[in-house]
Structures are given as structure tokens and as C-alpha cells.
Amino acid sequence: MAIPFTEKRSWLYLLQQCAVSCAALAILTAIAFSLHFPIAAAGFMYLLVVVLAALRYGIWQATCISLIAVGCLNFFFIPPIFSFVVADNRDWIALLSFQVCALVVSRLSSRERKVARDADYQRIQMEKLFELSRGILIFDLHAPPGPQLVQLLRGTFSADDVAIFDADLVRLDHEGQWSPDQRQIARQAFLADKNDDDPSLRTTQRVIRIGATPVGAIAIRGEVDPLIANAVASLAAIAFERFRSYEKEARAESATQAEQLRVAVLDALAHAFKTPLTVICTASSGLQELGTLDKTEVELAELISQEAVGLNRLCTRLLQTAKLEASTVTLRTEPVVPSILVKEVVSQLAPTLKGHPVELSIQEQDTPLQGDPELLMMILTQYLDNAAKYSPPNAPIQVTVRESESELLLSVRNRGPLIRMQDRERVFERFYRSSDARDRVPGTGVGLSIVKKAAEAHHGHVWVVSGEQEGTTFFLSMPKLQVGGTKAWNLE
């Protein structure tokens, strides 16, 4: 464990400790000398002082005391006394053993003391981290995490200053005495993407990362261990992350609610329209059925019927699109043979295509693909409706189906006007209608956006190619997913 700043003692403090120990030595020496203690007894007493110094102050103080103790032993107890001369060589051995003994004992005891102190220190740091994480857990998730975090950090670590830079919200929060300029240290740490510990300024900087991405930085002035600072940065990252995900969730929820409301309103509107439409249709078609009208009256009644039917179709489509837009599309997939599906749609739609003949070109490959038949039919219906809308009268619509082992390509071509380059992407956007079409052809601008959504749900995509000469062709391509686990085809 690295020695934190608290271990740095001033020289004065050291001297004071030595003085206390020396005083203890002097008192012991006076007692032992006046009572004529033998060398061994005096040695043990000195050893006691050295061990106590080691336990209480540390190894260096203990070493120092042990040297003085050896001096005293030599001067007062080893003959000739009151001199540092040692007459008997055996006494050298005694002195040397004392010194070694004192050093070893003081080393062991000071280590013991250090371990105990480190454990204590760690416990305190852990408690602080725990307090910090608990504080983060009860953060108010509606408010940005920065201000709450600086306050909590400063309180927990009794730091002088704490500054946090939040890169997402672009805000700098600070608690303490730092001037506005000094606070910028957090922003600089983020910009430089640098972790740093500066013992002289007692300042620690950490970049806050979510995964590998830096999202902010933290700067603390105070006694904070570098490892603890790392842990603090991780906890700060968690606080950031929680705030972000909560915000995202809240946003998604409000979006869902808005969407639900929109669908409910559309649904109610469309249904509210259907009742009067039914009455209008019944009444106008009833008039025609009676057969009592003259030619003009029949014409007028027909007009009412026609328009009511048109209005109804619009309602129906709005309702369908609202439903498709409402939620993420859930596919009800089943094996679909594209050629049959296309023929079915074409035969269903033929009467509504305003006299445009449909030219089918199908490369038969009657292997089924996995898809949602309703959505696929909807895509083709939309393409055909569009083609009929934009084609010049009686121009043919060409429908082409091409298949490979892995892919389906479907295209619907009409002789309609050019779709300009800048509009080709955007016609698939919701409510977008090209400026050329807006005035000429009725429409809502929703149909193709739904087509795109349906195609994407099938992992396919849609695009349009258009030219003055060759007309406009809408495409759908989609992968043929493997038909797995379905019942064998019972064709007989």
C-alpha cells in the first residue's frame, strides 16, 4: 500500500519524538546507574525503550534511539565507565548483540504497527467508498449527477475542493474554494484525457469513462489515495450512466405515450368518420337502386357515392398506417411463394387500377420464403396504387419478380413522370411528398414510409429508379430466409 500524505512528518515532529525517547533513556540511565545495575539488566531496559519507540513512532526513530542506547551502555556501564573505550573484547560482542537485537526487534514491531495501521486506513477508505456508492444510489435521477456528486464527494473525503466536468451535459460543477479558473482543471483533464496525481498541490485528476469512452473528468484537492481516486472515478461513471439510462428510458416512455395517443386519436377519428360515410353511401346508393331518378339525378347520386367511397378508402388507409407506425412491426411470418402472392395481389387490385393493364413478368421459382404475407401484400399494393396514380391514362404497369436462391427482387414500373434525384430518398420519408406531386395527385405521403418500414422488418430494402424515358421503377429486395421447422408440404 502506498504511503499517503499523512505519513509525511515534519522534521520538528521527528525531533520531538527523539527527544521524548532520549528523556526516557536519561531517566532509565540515572536509575540504573545509581542502583548499580549489571550490564545485562541495563541492556534489557534500554531494549524496552527501543521497542516502545518502534511500536509508537517507527523504525527510524527506533534505530536512532538504539544507537544512543548503545552509547549510554558503553559510557555508563561498560568498564572503564565514563569513557567510550571498551577494555574487554567480550563487551564489544555484548554491545554488538544489543545493537542487532534492538534493530531486529524494532524492525519487527514497527512492521507490525504499520500493518495494523494500513488495515485501519484501508478500512476507513472502504467505508468512505461504501458511503459514496450508497450516496450515489440515492441520487435524484431527474437532476444532473454533477452537482450532487461534488457535494457528496467533498463531504465524504473531507476534501478542500471537488470539481466535476460532465462532457455530455457540458457542465462544470464545483464545491470548495477554487476560483473559477482553477476549476477548469477538471475540464482540462477531460480534454487531455489524462489521469494525474500531484502530491505537492495535493490534487488528483481522473477521467470518468463509461466503457472506454471518456464522458467527463473529476478533480479533487485533499488527501485522496490514488487507488481510491480510481474507484471514485468508476463510481462517478456509474452515476453518469444511471442518469443517462434513466433519461433515455423516460424519453422512450414519453415517446411511446405520444405514439399511443396519436394512434388512439386517429383510430377514433377514422371510426367516427365511418358512420356518417355509411349513411351517405347507403342513402346515395339507395337513391340509385330505387330507379325513380332521371338521368341528371342518377349522375349526382353516383357522384356522392363515388366520393364517399374515396373518402372511406382514405380513412381505411390512414387507420392501417397508424397501426403499422404505432409499434415496432411484429412479423407474422410463414412460408410465402412470391409468384402466387404477386398474382393474388394483382388480381385483387386489377379493378381499382383505373384501367391500367398490368404486365406480369415472373420468373417462377416456386420455393417459398419466410415472410409476413400481409405486409408483403401491403408493399406491393402500395407500389401498384402509386403506379396507377402517377401513370398517364391507360399506360401499362410492369411488375417483375426475380428470384435467386437467396434473394427476392420485386419491381413495379410505371410510365409516370420523373422523380427528381433529390427526392428519390425522401419519397420514403413519412409525410414527404415531392413538390411536383403535391399539386397534381392526391395523397397523404404516408404510404411509402410504411413500405420502407415493412421492408426493413424483413431485412430488405426499397429504392426507386427514375428517368425521363424509362419511367419510374420502385424496387423491393429482400433476403430469402431459410424455411425451417415447418411441416412438410402435403401437396396431395
Binding site: T275, I340, P373
Partner: protein, 236 residues
């Protein structure tokens, strides 16, 4: 002029009024009910030739009313009026025992045609064994259930056994829509019901064999998302 007594059940006053006026003018006698419960008690006490029943009603809805009515009178013709475009509703209506459905808004001509057809089915007595064996004829198509042969314009058409079953089923209920699941059930067996692709494939084959122009079918009609219907009689 038409004839018959029709019960119109709809919670919307304007729709009842429009139907009342127009149908009466065409010769039907019309009785109105605004709620399912009211309709049920009327049906118990008065004879009706057909019932027009709205699906969406407050209180007892159309589906429940239809089920109860069917239990009381197995042979009364019931036509459901649906407003939703949800196909599930239509299938549910047919499963509840309705003979047919018609989507609002509708043309009066279509409505009267459906009413007439429904009344005809039920006026005919329950099929006796003789009738079950009788040859079915619609337009140019002729199906002999005993010999298991199908002819088109007097020329035999070769059908596989499954294709024959399918045609037989559809022709026996000519004019009425049969939901996909019911067709699959009765032709393939009770464990089938959701395999629409089988049906599409077979209908495709059948149209190739029976229709003049398979892309514009005259006999084998698709009721979008609901099922298929064999035309009751050919307009020519």
C-alpha cells in the same frame, strides 16, 4: 320488389334510419333494435327473414349477440356489419355463426344481394342425403360429389383429391365466405389451420384449372385476409 322482414341491429340511429328508409322503399319490412339484448328478445317473439347485426355495440356486442341468436335459431340468416378493417373481426364473426359479413360503408346493391343470398340458403331445407349427393352447378362448373368429377363447360377437369375436396367444400357453400382455417380444417384435417400458404398454392392451382383467366377469377373469389368464397351465381 323484395320481400321479407329484416331486423336491423345497430347502435347508431342514423345508420338504422338510412337502412330502414332505403330497405323499406325496396319492399322489405324493417324492424329496428339499438342493442343486442333488445334484438334477442325481438327475435324470440317475432319471425324474421334476416338479421343485420352490427359488430361494435355497447353492452352486448355483435359477436355475443350472434352466438346467442345462433343458439336459439340455428337457421336464421345473420349478416354482420363490420366497420373495423381488422380481419380478425370478420373471421370471428363467421366463427360465431354469422352467414356473411359486409363492411361499412357498403353499396345498397351489394347489401341486398347478400341479404337475398342469405335468405335463399336458409329457406332451402336442410340438405337431405339425396341433396348431399346432388350435382352442384354454378355457371359452367359442374361438380358431381358421388362420381367425384368436375366438369367445366361439359369438359372434364382433372383435379387431385385435395383439390376436389376444396372445390366441393367451396361449392357447397357457394356465395358464402369460408375462413381459411375452416377450409384447412375440413380438407387437410383438424391439426391444420394456420398454413395459409397451402391454401394459396391450391387456390392458385385450382384457378389455373377452373378459371378462364386465373388472374381475374370469376368463380373462386378471395375475401381478403378472411378466406375464399365460390361465387353463388355468375353475372353475365
Amino acid at each position: 320488389m323484395e320481400s321479407g322482414v329484416i331486423l336491423v341491429v345497430d347502435d347508431e340511429m342514423s345508420i338504422r334510419r338510412a337502412l330502414h328508409t332505403t330497405l323499406e322503399k325496396l319492399g322489405f319490412k324493417v324492424v329496428e333494435a339499438a342493442r343486442g339484448e333488445e334484438a334477442l328478445s325481438l327475435v324470440r317473439t317475432n319471425p324474421f327473414d334476416a338479421v343485420l347485426l352490427d359488430i361494435n355495440m355497447p353492452g352486448m356486442n355483435g359477436i355475443e349477440t350472434c352466438k346467442s341468436m345462433r343458439r336459439l335459431f340455428p337457421r336464421i340468416p345473420i349478416l354482420m356489419l363490420t366497420v373495423r378493417d381488422s380481419e380478425d373481426d370478420k373471421v370471428e364473426a363467421l366463427d360465431a355463426g354469422a352467414d356473411d359479413y359486409i363492411t361499412k360503408p357498403f353499396q345498397l346493391r351489394e347489401l341486398t344481394a347478400r341479404i337475398r343470398a342469405a335468405m335463399r340458403w336458409t329457406r332451402a331445407a336442410a340438405p337431405s342425403p339425396d341433396e348431399a349427393a346432388a350435382v352442384l352447378r354454378v355457371g359452367d362448373i359442374e361438380l358431381d360429389p358421388v362420381r367425384r368429377t368436375v366438369k367445366k363447360a361439359s369438359r372434364p377437369v382433372h383435379l387431385t383429391p385435395k383439390e376436389f375436396e376444396l372445390t366441393h367444400q367451396l361449392m357447397s357453400y357457394a356465395g358464402r365466405p369460408i375462413p381459411h382455417s375452416r377450409l384447412l380444417n375440413s380438407v387437410w384435417g383438424p391439426e391444420y389451420g394456420g398454413e395459409l400458404e397451402y391454401l394459396r398454392t391450391f387456390m392458385h392451382q385450382l384457378r389455373r384449372k377452373l378459371e378462364d383467366d386465373p388472374a381475374n377469377p370469376q368463380y373462386l373469389l378471395t375475401d381478403a385476409h378472411v378466406g375464399y368464397r365460390f361465387v353463388e351465381k355468375l353475372d353475365r
